[in-house]
Structures are given as structure tokens and as C-alpha cells.
């Protein structure tokens, strides 16, 4: 089982960051790697069990992910992958935010656990950690950080 953990400071209040991140259908609005997204079966994006169907900008690759948990008190969400062009299986991931009271910023954590089904595990771990998670933090900082 491979594990990925990345974390960063987002220079914006937690309510602002959580508003962007909690919308399970909003990836194209803030993540630079994602082109389109829709929630399947006309479900609301904050309904636990809903499935988002989205595509990557790089190659149009399709992903389907299911929302497993969403908590406005913990500022946390958990999801798993149903379909992905990445060589992974049993993929479960989550985001959790913690307020930084000094400065009124946000600590963002993004983690995943999965099996790598093809190729070197370290490559997939680095790809997800840096190109998905850290790239997402950087985009949130650009979009939301206090000037």
C-alpha cells in the first residue's frame, strides 16, 4: 500500500478555502489539471455517495470518484476512485483543513492510500503528491490568498 501526504499553508481564512474545496463538483474552477466536471445522476455535489465525473486537461483522461465523507465541522472530505487513467487500485484520499489562528490562514492537508498496479511506485506517488496535491495548493493560494 502506497501512502501520499502533502500539506501547505493557504494564505486565506479557512471559511474561504473550505468554500472552494468542499464543492465536490468544483475541481475545474480551482485545480489547474482538471478541464470539466459533472455530478452523475443529477445528484447534489454535497450528497455523500455522489459520483463526480471529470476530465484531465493534459490528455482528456476520464476519472470517476465517489464522495465517501463530507464534514463542515472537521473541514474534511474523503473520496475514492472508481475509474482513472492512473495505474492505481483501492485508492482512497481525503482533504482536511485546520485553521491557523495566528494570521487567520489555513493549513491544508491532502492524503491518499492506494496500490500501484503498473510501473515504479515512487513515480506514481510523486506524480499524485506533486502534480495533483501540491499543484492544487499552489492554485488555491493564487486564487484565494490575501494580498
Amino acid at each position: 500500500m502506497a501512502k501520499v501526504y502533502r500539506s501547505a499553508v493557504i494564505r486565506a481564512p479557512i471559511e474561504t478555502v473550505w468554500a472552494a474545496v468542499r464543492d465536490f463538483n468544483a475541481l475545474p474552477r480551482w485545480h489547474p489539471a482538471i478541464a470539466t466536471s459533472e455530478i452523475e445522476a443529477g445528484s447534489a455535489a454535497d450528497r455523500v455517495g455522489c459520483v463526480r465525473r471529470f476530465t484531465r486537461k493534459s490528455d482528456g483522461g476520464l476519472l470517476r470518484e465517489q464522495l465517501l465523507a463530507l464534514s463542515d465541522t472537521e473541514h474534511a472530505l474523503t473520496y475514492n476512485i472508481l475509474v482513472s487513467p492512473m495505474p492505481v487500485a483501492n485508492y482512497v484520499a481525503g482533504i482536511r483543513l485546520i485553521p491557523i489562528t495566528k494570521g487567520n490562514f489555513t493549513f491544508a492537508q491532502w492524503w491518499a492510500e492506494f496500490d500501484v498496479t503498473q510501473g515504479p511506485e515512487a513515480n506514481t506517488v510523486a506524480d499524485i503528491g506533486d502534480n495533483v496535491f501540491v499543484a492544487g495548493f499552489a492554485a488555491l493560494n493564487q486564487l484565494l490568498s490575501k494580498s
Binding site: R6, S7, A8, V9, I98, P99, K102, F107, Q109
Partner: protein, 148 residues
Amino acid sequence: MTKVFVSAVIDAPIGAVWARMRDFNGLPDWHPRFSRSHIEDGLRSDTIGCVRNFDIAGGAGTIRERLLTLSDSEYTMTYTILDAPLPVENYVATLKLYPITVGDQTLGTWSAEFKVVRGREDDVVDAVANGTFGKAFDVMNELLGRKR
């Protein structure tokens, strides 16, 4: 029940911050609000259940606290107040550190829950949140923070 939560970025790797903060007998070594500390009954300071007996600097009294949890994997410490010159009951506090992988820094979080039994709640909250917890993170940054 009153709750206090304070968090701050410390500009140093988590290993360095935890090495300083995990010593349950080490408060006076770095926290300016406290002086003199010993662990009662000759126990080691990483023994769960041990009691630290330490003074508030300037002769403002002695505090006794019992260690409830210490986790080197979770970078967490939990303790409760047994005696203190503070009008609180059922005081339980948790210090927890998180690694900030982007930039190799540390998030320090320190929280407490307690009941204020006398005086103004705001004064007690200020003493705990700013005087003790917030000050601790300021000092960690002064001691361990990178010079930029």
C-alpha cells in the same frame, strides 16, 4: 465548557520542534512564563501518568499537571491540570504538531477544554491562549526558526 484553540506556523522541521516540545519536564528550558520543573516520584518525563510540578515565573504559583498521552508518531501530547492558581476545573489540553511538507515547516496546534469556576472567562482564556499557548509558538520560532 470553555474551549481554546491556538495554531501557528513554526518555520522549522517538525523533528526539531517536537524534540523541544515533547519533554514534559522541559517547559522552563524554553517557555519564559515558567521556571523550575521536576517530575514527581522520580518518574521519567515520558512515562504516561507522570506528574510535572513547575512554577509560574515571578513567584505566581505552582502548577501540577499529569501526562495523559504522548505519541511520537502523532506528535501529540495530552495532559490535565491537577493543581494550579487558575480558576479552572476539568482542564484537559492537547498539543499536536503537523508537518507542512511544502517548505518543510511545522504547524503547531494547542487546544484546551475546561470550566471556569471564578472570575471572568475572557481573562482565563487570554492567559491560556496568548500567555501560554501562543507565546510557546512565538518562542519556538525565535529559537528554531530559519533566519531569512
